[in-house]
């Protein structure tokens, strides 16, 4: 730990006024990044149903997009500073950080096109895996997580019905055939992340039993190993090694006790709630606390999925999929079906996005409260919000609207609207360009990501970053 106490104290003072005060020592991640550089943090929030281009469009620029995957034959790159334009109503909670926001329109992701969601393709810019097939390449979050040395290289959190503790979402992958797991149950995540510093008696006991299980396993396997011939001993050695490293991780976490105690979120009712959006709140809080506590630098959150009912948002018993079919202004689906109170598709989408943005805003606020280097933790973070499926519910992925908050330590330009030339046009950009930007912002010298869109004319260069986004 190279951080002088005085700095910690300064942090404390700086943030003393906030209700979230205890997590002030946002220093662990700095220590974890052994290179000594200021750590950069990447948060991905992925939702289902596609995001309509209009949902993100800043006020005053509405004429540039149509609601339904416009495919306007946009020939040229358009950029506009956001200081002149208010954010869309869905993005309104981000207004205080408008100078940090980037709205990305016109990117395509044809290589990932699959019906109803691109799976690993969304963050992998690769062929979307269908039907639970394993990933074929790492996704951008998985790739980023490889270059950081934190106790949790990647933290996945996923909205799911009550029940499972850990799920594979089919969205995030560390490498080919290596899907990344996500915590679905906030309590399980809480115990794994902050279990070493909990004060709740019952949780403490459960954590102690977990430790005992590991100890018992190590002795059990050792005992068994002694009875085996040579080669087979080695095989068990690997198995044993896995337990040892889990134990070591536990010890590492216990050594971080101070900063984890400071960063640990309050165990509110949200963590055990049976209301979906309350658990989502808990997920966001976990993500924020984990970043501040230095447990991880890469977080991926699946905010919903098509089979889920978003209870708590006043959307009745409709699943996310059913909401996707309340298509307004176009034939097909349930053709403009509305809720009893008259709320149609656009209003419903706005309500959902608004809720997601409130969570992102809360995260931004907390990160901003932690000074780091000459600025705050938020300055070294980028939060990317997108759908796992292009520009509408039944997308063909000719467009893939996204919005980002943060500059990743000044590597990315913010406070602007970027609309790249349409699919097939000269100098068109795909989602792969955007992901290369993120990789380069993290200091990963990579020029290419995922698989190219083979249907694009060969005159379009599919390598390199999204230059309009790079500072």
């Amino acid at each position: 730990m190279e951080h002088p106490l005085s700095r910690r104290k300064a942090l404390h003072n700086a943030c003393a006024g906030l209700a979230v005060a205890p997590f002030l020592q946002g220093i662990a991640a700095r220590a974890a990044d052994q290179s000594g550089r200021t750590p950069k943090r990447f948060v991905f929030v992925v939702r289902a149903n596609g995001i309509l281009p209009t949902e993100l469009q800043p006020q005053g620029l509405e004429s540039l997009v149509r609601p339904r995957g416009a495919r306007l034959s946009q020939k040229k790159l358009i950029t506009a500073p956001l200081k002149d334009h208010s954010l869309s109503r869905g993005l309104a909670p981000l207004e205080p950080w408008r100078h940090q926001v980037t709205v990305l329109q016109g990117l395509s992701g044809r290589m990932a096109n699959e019906s109803h969601g691109a799976g690993y393709g969304a963050l992998g810019a690769c062929r979307g895996a269908k039907g639970g097939a394993p990933p074929t390449t790492p996704t951008v979050d998985g790739l980023l997580s490889r270059s950081f040395n934190t106790p949790f290289a990647h933290l996945g959190l996923a909205m799911e019905e009550i029940g499972p503790q850990v799920v594979y979402t089919g969205l995030f992958a560390a490498a080919a055939k290596k899907p990344l797991p996500c915590y679905a149950d906030p309590m399980t995540a809480y115990q794994d992340l902050f279990g070493s510093v909990v004060t709740d008696r019952q949780l403490k006991a459960a954590a102690a039993v977990d430790r005992n299980v590991l100890d018992f396993m190590v002795s059990d396997i050792n005992r068994f190993r002694a009875t085996l011939p040579g080669v087979e001993k080695e095989k068990l050695e690997h198995y044993l090694e896995g337990f040892r490293s889990l134990k070591a991780q536990g010890e590492k976490l216990r050594a971080m006790k101070k900063q984890l105690t400071a960063a640990a979120p309050d165990l509110t009712d949200d963590f055990r709630s049976d209301v979906e959006i309350e658990r989502l709140k808990a997920h966001f809080q976990l993500a924020t606390s984990a970043l501040i506590g230095g447990l991880t630098q890469v977080v991926s959150i699946r905010a919903d999925h098509l089979g889920l009912r978003l209870t708590g948002l006043g959307l009745g018993s409709k699943t996310v999929h059913q909401i996707g079919h309340m298509i307004e202004g176009e034939k097909g689906g349930s053709g403009g079906e509305k809720f009893d109170n008259g709320m149609g598709e656009f209003a419903t989408r706005e309500r959902i996005m608004n809720f997601h943005m409130q969570q992102i805003a809360s995260m931004a606020k907390q990160l901003e409260a932690v000074p780091e280097e000459d600025g705050t933790m938020l300055d070294n973070t980028v939060i990317l919000y997108l759908s796992d499926h292009g520009e509408k519910h039944h997308s063909n992925c000719f467009e893939w609207p996204m919005v980002a908050l943060g500059t990743a330590g000044g590597a990315l330009k913010a406070g602007q609207y970027i609309h790249v030339p349409g699919w097939g046009e000269d100098r068109h950009n795909t989602i792969a360009h955007a992901y290369v930007s993120l990789l380069q912002a993290a200091g990963i010298e990579q020029d290419q990501f995922g698989q190219p869109d083979l249907t694009l004319p060969s005159s379009i260069d599919q390598t390199g970053p999204l230059s309009a986004w790079m500072s």
């Binding site: 039993v209 005992n212 068990l236 049976d274």
Partner: protein, 750 residues
Amino acid sequence: MIKRLEPVLIQYTETRLGTASGHSLTVFLCLLAGLAWAVHAADADEHLQVLRDSCAGCHGRADPEAGFSVTGLSTSVAGADLEGWQKIREMVSLGDMPPPDAGPIAVEQKKQLLKWLDSELTAAGYELPDLSLPQNGNRVDHDALFSGEHIGPAYTSSRLWRISPEIYLRFAATIDMARKLNAPLTSTGDHGFRDYSYLYADQAAIRTLMQNCKRAAATLVYGRVARVKNKSGSARRNPGGRENSRHPLFRSFAVGQGPPGESELNAVIAYAFEFLLERPPTKLELARYRDEFLTPNLELAGRDAALTGFLTTMMMSPEFLFRMEVGLGRVLPDGRRWLSPREVAYAVSYTLFDYLDAQILKAAEEGKLATRADVEREFRRMLTSSDRRVRAPAGKNFWPTGKGAGITSPRLMETGHPRLLRFFRQYFGYVAAPDVFKDDSRHDGKLNAWDLVRDADWFVLRALKDDRNVLKVLLTSDRYFVNSRANRKPIRENRVYNLDGPVERPDQGGLSQVPIAMPEGQRAGMLTHPAWLVAHSGNFETDPVRRGRWIREKLLAGIVPDIPIGVAAQLPDEPKQTLRQRFAIVNRSECWRCHRKMNPLGNPLEAYDDFGRYRTDHLVTQDDHVIASEFEAYSRLRKVTWRDSHSRGHPEEEFRSRPVDVSGEITGSGDAELDGKVDGPVQMMHRLAASPRVRQCFVRHVFRFWMGRNETLPDSPTLIAMDSAYVKSGGSFQELMVALVTSDSFLLRK
């Protein structure tokens, strides 16, 4: 060689000449060393002479082929020419050199040469290929395996074999978990079979395993997550609630009050052992789990948490996660040991099922699984029936190769033997068809790869059900199942199979369906099945290299080295040429060395486009560009659907055609009857299917899949027994399996 002599010499001199003076010892050593050198040089000269005789014609001093000369090689293998000697070893051992037109090295000479090279190269620090790795299976000499000169003794090393993902998932289903568990025990990459016994559970898997165990423990104790209807009537999982606990003992232990007595502890441990490991605990185990785990954790965290922890340790134990094949049975005079009856019960059960067969375990416990005849009796019983009560759970999620790929009803399997089908899926590799991306714009929805996979599954299952000439049927039959997924519906058309109009369904569909004859002269077995063809194709084109390689490795037991580092395999971008014409580039000698093993075998399959549709002509645009497939001609280039296109006139109006060249050649197969030119896929497949070499190669793959390891020369008697059982029974796959399961390789350990 000198190096290896030294320790022996020193040992000898120390024991025998311990009293001799230092001087005379040195002289003696020098003399011996000189002698050794002379022997070595004589060896080297002899082998060099062989190389000169066979190779110097092309690899002589002046302008040698591939820039490689054998005449200037130093006789010291470990010296400056080490790399050259390595090359020679690889070429000669793979049979790549001398080429067919140069006349072979005599068998005995080759054997001696390789033996000498192996020992010299090993001494020089060169690592010989590891014959236990899946990709090196074919390096074991095929002729030697089936010559009968090797008589064993066959055995398998004592081993632990990590349970397969399927066994793990099935366990989850057995305990009635509401959702499937994540199977963290993922297997090897794409190279052949996926479940080899050398695999282990890695570190990343353990965290997931631990999480799984907690969930599984909750299910064991309190039952599955309860479902309740919500207001709109659709099922919803009850938050927090669980129902239908199947293990009242666990439940009452968890919710009981006060500290449990010793008898209660013993009862719960014994019950867990019986349920999870299918055996009672030993006294030692009982005491350990009771005193070292349960008691301290009960004090620490109470009944519920202690029980969960205990069940976790049980489900993480090596015995639960590994198949034990140590060989705990009786010992033979030569040191080999039988699997104990209990080990046999597991091993035999897992040849067919993903669970332990209750009856064979009973036989083991009753002492009725002690002889080969016992094993055969039990195995035959299992082949013809399976316990319906412990049937694999129906449901697409159970089949781990992907949604929709599976046979949703295990009834289809007749006897419910999932591992039989799994072998054929992995051997032929057709199950990869959906992984090959074909852009919609190229086929206008004509391709549904999952449907093709399922059709191919039916094709395999039918052959297994008939159990006559199984391999021949799979390699030559032109009767396929089409649209097998569509239950009871008439087959409208399926253009991938060249069924271009409506076809009457000869059956009611569903489980009773029978295969349909394909248009005459177009198909022959699995390698001409669209599922296989798509699985072995590229995104835009066919892939004669991969297809040829498959035939070389899986049917001819040959080896094709991986593409050399530094070679950018790139075909010229020449739209006016067919793929085959573009492949002319590999005729250059440095490419041809490997490609001659693949392209001539893959070329006849050019009779099908990359969607698996049969063709006699390439379609060519007016400006002479070759179109990869007929589908593409319709859907992409004309921008109309197939159906529309017919009403708008025949494509010939717009496209010209050029005949497809389907000639090919089987070379270097090791079977003189087999080698020779072929003029099309049907002829090639029939010739392959008639070859004993192909049949034996198939037997080798069966051995690998079920033994979880490569075959070795001492396994020769097992392989020969399998082969002859198959031949004698008129091609019964079941008889072949019986021969394997009752063999020394299967039953003995050392």
